[in-house]
C-alpha cells in the first residue's frame, strides 16, 4: 500500500508515545493519540473506506475536515451506535469501533455496485421518470432501502445532553490565524471575548504549518482575556446576535455506559467575527472520485498534522497558486511530485513549484486509471484537444481547484455575496447584521493582510468603531470551470450524492435553470456535507450549460445547522420524567398508597382509577362509579382551576367575560358560567361563586386555568385598563378533596364537619367558609357527577390529614376513592359536557343548550357579536345530543362519524364521549349532531373502521333526569 507514516517532526498533532487500538469493519488497527479515524486509516494503508450513495462506487478518504463525504462511518454498538460520523473529524480514542456504510456484504464486494451498471436508468430525478409502471408502489420499498447510508440504533439514546446560556461582547468563530488575531485585539480593547475552535486545539491551519506561532498566538489571546473553547463548533447564527454551538464532551470509545455527551451553547453576542476559513474546490475531471483523489490541502494537512503521506507518487491537478505551496510541502515530506498539471495558462500562474518539479500548464486530466485506487492518469492540453494524451504514473492525485470561502454564518445572518471573477469565488459583500467576516472566509488569503485586517476589525468591533476595509484576496487567479472540454466519463460535481456534470447538463436541458431547481432536481448539495465541496462547481457548470456567468446563477441559501447535529443536543434534559413540566397533587403519596393508577391529564399527574387486585382500568372505573352512586366516594379535585378575582369592578368585569350574569350573585351563591373567545367559541367553563361584594371565587377547567386567566388578563390590560380589579391564580395554594354520593354528608359529619354545611342547611351551588379542627375551609356544594357533592378547599399541608381521617371511616359508608375515569362515567351519565372533549373550535353556546341564557342577558360580553353571524344562526349547526346504543350493548366508539351512508360521505357529526354505565347497565354517549335538537327519537348510523353501529338520539341526563339525587339521602 502506498500511504504510510512519516517520521517526526511530521505529525504535529500526534503523541507517538500513546498507541491507540481501534477497529474498522471488524479488523483491528493501531494509531496514535492525536490521529483522527481518517488519518489512522490512511496510515494503516486502508484505501477503500466507503461506497458512494447511488452508484456504490468505491471511495477513499477525500478531505481532512467537515467537508469529508466519502468516509462516513457508523461508530459504536447497540444503543450507543452513532450513524454517519465523519471519520475526518472523529478523534481516535482507544476502543473506537467503526464500520463503513452503504455496502453489503462488505466494502470490497458490494452487491450495490450493480447500480453503477444501471447508471443509465439512475440519472438525476430518475424516480420521476422510471420505475413507475404499472404502479410505482411496487418499486418504492426497494428504492427506499437503497436510500440512506448508516444505520440508526434501535434503542433510546442513553447518553445525556445539556445546554448553557452565555452573553459575550465579541464572539469569534474559528481559532485560526485571523480568528486569534481578531480575538486578541478585541480582548485588549476591553471586550468580553470568547473564541470557538471546532477541533481539539486552537490554531487552524497555522497549528500544523507553524505550531510554535499558533501556540504563542493562542496564549497571547488568552492573556489578553479572551476565552478559547475547543471542540465547540458554531452551527448557526440566529436572530439578534444569537449563535448556537455544539460542544463535544466525550468521543465514541465503545464504552457502553451513559455519559454527558454534548453541550448546546446559546451565545448572545453583540458582535460576531466569522473566521471560518475557506473550503478547497475539487477539480472536475473524469473519475475524480476514485480512492486516491484527494483535496490538495488535505494531503498537506495529513502530512503535517498527522504525519501521514497519502501516497508516494503524486500528480497535482491545479487551478490555484496554492497548489505550488502544496507541491513543495509534499516534496519535503519525501513524496515524488510527478507533475503539477495546471488548468490555467502559463501567464495566469503566479507561483513556482521549486526546482525539479515539472509543470504542464494549460492542461487538465482527461482520465484516471485504477478503480479501487488511483494507479495513474492521463493529461491533455487545451492547445491540442485531439492530440495524444500523456499518461502519468501516480498513486495519488491532489486536487487544488481554488477556494470557496465558508460564508455560511454570514449567510445565516442574511448577508449578501459578491462573485470575484478573477479568483472564481463568492465572498461576503460587507458585514451581515452583527456578523463580520475576517480571513479566508472573507476572501482575504494573504496571511499578513489577513492578520492585520482581523486585528483592526477586532478592535473596531470592541470599541463600536467603523470597520476597516477588506483587503484584496491576494491569492492569484483561478478559473471558474475546470473540466476539460471533450472529456469523457463520469466527472463528479457532488461526491456524496453521486451528481456528475451529465446530471447538471440534464437539469439545464430540462429547463431546471434556477440554482434552487438544480439543487432539488439533481440533489447536488443536499447531502450531509450540504455542498461544501460541490456548490461552486455545480453552479459554475449550470452556468456553462445555460449560458450564464456564475454571478448570474447565484447560490442557494445556507441555513443552520452548518454540520449535522445530534438530536439529543437540542433535546437536552427534556426526556423521561422531564419531557414536559407535570403538575403534582399536594397529597400524592396518599393516592399512591391506595393503589392509584396515575396518568397524565392535561399536564397533571393524577389518578385515573384505583384498581384493586385483578382489576384493569375499565373494571376499576366501573366499580368506583357505581360505588359513588350507591354510597360515597372521594376524589382529589386539586387540579380544578381557581382564580381569586378582587376589586370594585370585579363583578362588572366578570359580566363581560362570561355568557351568564355574575353580578347578580349574592355572597355565598355560585353559578355555572361559560367563557367564549371573540369568535363566540366556547373556551372554558366553570362555577363562579361570590365571596363578598368585591371578591369572587372563579373555577375553571383543570386544563384551562392558565389559558382562561391569560384571556382575562389580556382583556383587563389591553381593553379595560381603567377597571379596578386583579385576577390572582390560587389553584396551587389549595388542596381540594371532593366528597360525593348519597352518603357524602353522613361521611363528612362522622369526622366532625359542621352541621351548618349539611344539605338541609347549605343549598346546592353555594359556598361557605368553615373550619374543621382549626383548619380553615372553603366548601362549595357543586356536583359534576349528579350526586350530593362537596368540594372542600383547604391548605395544602392539611390535605393529607383530611384524607386520612375520611379514609379511616370509609368502610362504614362503603366509600371509595375514585379517579378521572369514574368521574367521566358519572358526568356522561348526567349529560354534562367537558370543554375540549364534547366541544371543539367551532362550538358556540347555542350548540350546547345555552341559547336561552344568551337571549336573557342584555349586556355585552366577549363573543356576543359573533353569535349573530350567519354561521352562528344556521339551523343546520351541529349541537350536543345524547345517544343510546340501539342494541343496548354495543359501546359507540369516541370519534366515530355519524352519517346516513358509509364513508366517503359528508359527516353529520361524531361521538364525543362514550362509556358503559354501571348505573343503567348499558352504554351511554354524547355526540355532536347536525340539527340534533330536532332529531330526538331518530335512529342514526355511527361508522367506525368499516363497522356500522346503530344508535338512537335521546335526551340527557340518562340518570336522575329530575335531579332529585342532588341533596343525597334524606
Amino acid at each position: 500500500m502506498s500511504a504510510h507514516r512519516l517520521p517526526a517532526p511530521w505529525g504535529t498533532r500526534l503523541d507517538r508515545a500513546a498507541r491507540v487500538p481501534f477497529s474498522f469493519d471488524g479488523r483491528d488497527f493501531e494509531g496514535f493519540a492525536g490521529d483522527t479515524l481518517a488519518s489512522a486509516l490512511l496510515a494503516n494503508g486502508v484505501r477503500l473506506t466507503g461506497r458512494s450513495f447511488k452508484y456504490h462506487r468505491p471511495r477513499g478518504v477525500f478531505a481532512a475536515g467537515v467537508e469529508e463525504t466519502s468516509t462516513l462511518v457508523d461508530v459504536g454498538e447497540g444503543a450507543y451506535r452513532s450513524p454517519n460520523e465523519n471519520a475526518a473529524t472523529l478523534e481516535l480514542v482507544p476502543g473506537l469501533t467503526a464500520s463503513s456504510v452503504n455496502r453489503w456484504p462488505s466494502l470490497r464486494f458490494d452487491f450495490g455496485a450493480i447500480n453503477a451498471r444501471l447508471a443509465a436508468v439512475l440519472p438525476a430525478g430518475f424516480y420521476y421518470k422510471t420505475f413507475k409502471w404499472p404502479d410505482w408502489h411496487w418499486y418504492e420499498p426497494s428504492i427506499r432501502r437503497m436510500a440512506g447510508l448508516g444505520r440508526v440504533a434501535n434503542a433510546s439514546d442513553p447518553d445525556r445532553y445539556e445546554e448553557i446560556a452565555v452573553e459575550v461582547d465579541v464572539l469569534v468563530v474559528g481559532a485560526g490565524l485571523a480568528g486569534l488575531c481578531a480575538a486578541r485585539a478585541a480582548a485588549e480593547a476591553g471586550a468580553r471575548v470568547r473564541v470557538l475552535a471546532a477541533g481539539p486545539q486552537p490554531g487552524g491551519a497555522l497549528a500544523y504549518r507553524d505550531p510554535q506561532r499558533a501556540r504563542e498566538l493562542a496564549a497571547s489571546a488568552e492573556r489578553a482575556g479572551a476565552r478559547i473553547a475547543t471542540r465547540t463548533l458554531a452551527f448557526g447564527v440566529y436572530d439578534h446576535g444569537l449563535v448556537c454551538a455544539r460542544e463535544k464532551l466525550v468521543e465514541q470509545d465503545g464504552a457502553q455506559r451513559p455519559r454527558l455527551r454534548e453541550r448546546l451553547w446559546k451565545i448572545r453576542a453583540r458582535a460576531v467575527i466569522a473566521a471560518t476559513g475557506a473550503f478547497e474546490r475539487p477539480m472536475v475531471f473524469p473519475d475524480n472520485d476514485r480512492p486516491g483523489v484527494m483535496l490538495a490541502g488535505a494531503v498537506e494537512e495529513y502530512a503535517r498534522a498527522f504525519g501521514v503521506a497519502c501516497g508516494r507518487r503524486v500528480v497535482v491537478a491545479a487551478n490555484c497558486d496554492s497548489a505550488y505551496d502544496t507541491a513543495r510541502s509534499l516534496r519535503e515530506a519525501g513524496m515524488e511530485v510527478v507533475a503539477v498539471v495546471d488548468r490555467r495558462r502559463e501567464a495566469e500562474r503566479g507561483r513556482d513549484p521549486g526546482p525539479g518539479t515539472r509543470v504542464i500548464a494549460g492542461a487538465g486530466l482527461s482520465a484516471v486509471f485504477g478503480r479501487n485506487g488511483v494507479s495513474g492518469c492521463s493529461v491533455r492540453q487545451d492547445a491540442a484537444p485531439t492530440g495524444r494524451a500523456e499518461r502519468l504514473d501516480c498513486d495519488l492525485i491532489a486536487s487544488a481547484g481554488g477556494f470557496a470561502p465558508a460564508v455560511h454564518l454570514h449567510s445565516h445572518a442574511g448577508g449578501r455575496l459578491r462573485w470575484l471573477d478573477a479568483e472564481a469565488m463568492f465572498v461576503p459583500d460587507g458585514p451581515a447584521g452583527v456578523v463580520v467576516s475576517v480571513g479566508a472566509c472573507a476572501g482575504v488569503f494573504d496571511a499578513t493582510a489577513a492578520a492585520e485586517h482581523a486585528e483592526l476589525a477586532g478592535r473596531a468591533l470592541a470599541r463600536g468603531e467603523r470597520l476597516p476595509p477588506w483587503p484584496a484576496p491576494g491569492i492569484g487567479r483561478s478559473l471558474a470551470h475546470t473540466a476539460l472540454s471533450g472529456a469523457r466519463g463520469k466527472q463528479f460535481v457532488d461526491l456524496q450524492n453521486d451528481v456528475d456534470l451529465g446530471d447538471v447538463a440534464l437539469a439545464a436541458r430540462e429547463n431546471y435553470r434556477s440554482v434552487e431547481h438544480l439543487k432539488r432536481y439533481t440533489t447536488t448539495g443536499m447531502g450531509t456535507d450540504q455542498g461544501k465541496t460541490s456548490n461552486v462547481n455545480a453552479l459554475v457548470a449550470l452556468g456553462e450549460f445555460s449560458g450564464r456567468e456564475p454571478a448570474a446563477v447565484g447560490t442557494t441559501t445556507f441555513r443552520p445547522p452548518f454540520v449535522p447535529v445530534t438530536l439529543g443536543t437540542f433535546v437536552g434534559r427534556r426526556t423521561g420524567a422531564l419531557y414536559r413540566p407535570l403538575k403534582r397533587l399536594p397529597a400524592e403519596a396518599w393516592h399512591v398508597e391506595r393503589g392509584a393508577l396515575f396518568e397524565q391529564f392535561g399536564n397533571w399527574w393524577r389518578p385515573a382509577a384505583y384498581p384493586q387486585p385483578g382489576e384493569d382500568l375499565h373494571a376499576a372505573a366501573q366499580r368506583e362509579a357505581a360505588a359513588v352512586r350507591r354510597g360515597a366516594g372521594l376524589m382529589d379535585g386539586s387540579p380544578l382551576g381557581k382564580l381569586d378575582v378582587f376589586g370594585p369592578d370585579a363583578a362588572a368585569f366578570l359580566d363581560l367575560m362570561y355568557v351568564g350574569t355574575v353580578s347578580t350573585l349574592k355572597a355565598g351563591q355560585a353559578r355555572y358560567g361559560v367563557v367564549l373567545n371573540e369568535h363566540g367559541v366556547v373556551m372554558d367553563d366553570g362555577i363562579v361563586a361570590r365571596l363578598a361584594d368585591n371578591r369572587f371565587w372563579v373555577n375553571t377547567t383543570s386544563a384551562g386555568v392558565e389559558r382562561t386567566a391569560a384571556a382575562f388578563e389580556e382583556w383587563l390590560q389591553c381593553e379595560y385598563p381603567q377597571l379596578r380589579l386583579c385576577i390572582t391564580p390560587v389553584t396551587s395554594h389549595y388542596g381540594n378533596v371532593t366528597v360525593a354520593g348519597p352518603r357524602a354528608w353522613a361521611w363528612l359529619a362522622s369526622i366532625g364537619f359542621d352541621a351548618a354545611l349539611a344539605p338541609k342547611a347549605m343549598r346546592h351551588m353555594t359556598l361557605r367558609e368553615a373550619t374543621w379542627e382549626g383548619t380553615p375551609l372553603k366548601v362549595m356544594r357543586a356536583s359534576f357527577c349528579g350526586e350530593l357533592s362537596y368540594e372542600i378547599n383547604l391548605p395544602v399541608d392539611r390535605t393529607r390529614a383530611l384524607l386520612d381521617r375520611l379514609w379511616a371511616r370509609a368502610a362504614e359508608f362503603e366509600a371509595v376513592p375514585y379517579g378521572i375515569e369514574a368521574l367521566e362515567i358519572l358526568r356522561t351519565e348526567k349529560g354534562y359536557l367537558h370543554v375540549g372533549t364534547d366541544t371543539d373550535g367551532t362550538t358556540l353556546p347555542g350548540d350546547i343548550g345555552m341559547a336561552r341564557g344568551v337571549e336573557r342577558k342584555a349586556a355585552n360580553f366577549v363573543g356576543r357579536r359573533s353569535l349573530l353571524r350567519p354561521a352562528a344562526l344556521d339551523p343546520n349547526r351541529f349541537v350536543l345530543v345524547a345517544l343510546d346504543s340501539a342494541d343496548g350493548r354495543t359501546l359507540l366508539p369516541v370519534g366515530a362519524q355519524i352519517a346516513p351512508e358509509p364513508p366517503p360521505t359528508r359527516t353529520q357529526g361524531h361521538v364525543t364521549s362514550s362509556y358503559f354505565s354501571p348505573t343503567l347497565g348499558r352504554p351511554v354517549a354524547l355526540a355532536m349532531l347536525e340539527r340534533g335538537g330536532s332529531r330526538v327519537g331518530e335512529r342514526i348510523k355511527v361508522h367506525h373502521l368499516g363497522r356500522v353501529i346503530e344508535a338512537v338520539v335521546t335526551r340527557a341526563p340518562f340518570v336522575d333526569p329530575e335531579g332529585r339525587r342532588i341533596d343525597g339521602e334524606e
Partner: protein
C-alpha cells in the same frame, strides 16, 4: 430566537413571551354589519416591513405591551405601552429580495 425588550424588564429571550398578533385594531361596535365584523375577526394585513404587534411577557412580569417589528429582518424598532399610540418611527427601506430570507 428573538431578543425582545420588555418595557418593564429589559431584554429577554423570545421564549419568555407570547405574541398577541396585530395591534391597534379597531373593534367594530355591536351594531356593525356581518361583513365589518368578519373583516375584524378574520382579515389581517401581512406587511413585508413594519408591523405593529402586541406581546405579553408571560414568563416574566406578565405585562402586555406594543412592539414595532420589521417582518423581514426582525429588527425591533420600538416597544411602547399597550395603551399608547406608536412613537414616530421612520420606516427603513425594505431590503432587496436577494438579501431577504
Amino acid at each position: 430566537m428573538l431578543r425582545i425588550r420588555c418595557i418593564h424588564c429589559g431584554p429577554r429571550d423570545e421564549n419568555e413571551f407570547v405574541c398577541g398578533g396585530t395591534s391597534h385594531l379597531t373593534r367594530p361596535p355591536l351594531g356593525a354589519s356581518d361583513g365589518e365584523w368578519a373583516e375584524y375577526l378574520f382579515f389581517r394585513d401581512n406587511p413585508k416591513g413594519l408591523h405593529l404587534e402586541r406581546w405579553r411577557h408571560a414568563q416574566g412580569c406578565g405585562a402586555w405591551f406594543n412592539l414595532a417589528r420589521h417582518t423581514v429582518t426582525h429588527e425591533i424598532l420600538a416597544v411602547y405601552p399597550i395603551t399608547e399610540r406608536p412613537p414616530a418611527i421612520v420606516e427603513r427601506t425594505p431590503p432587496s429580495a436577494e438579501g431577504s430570507r
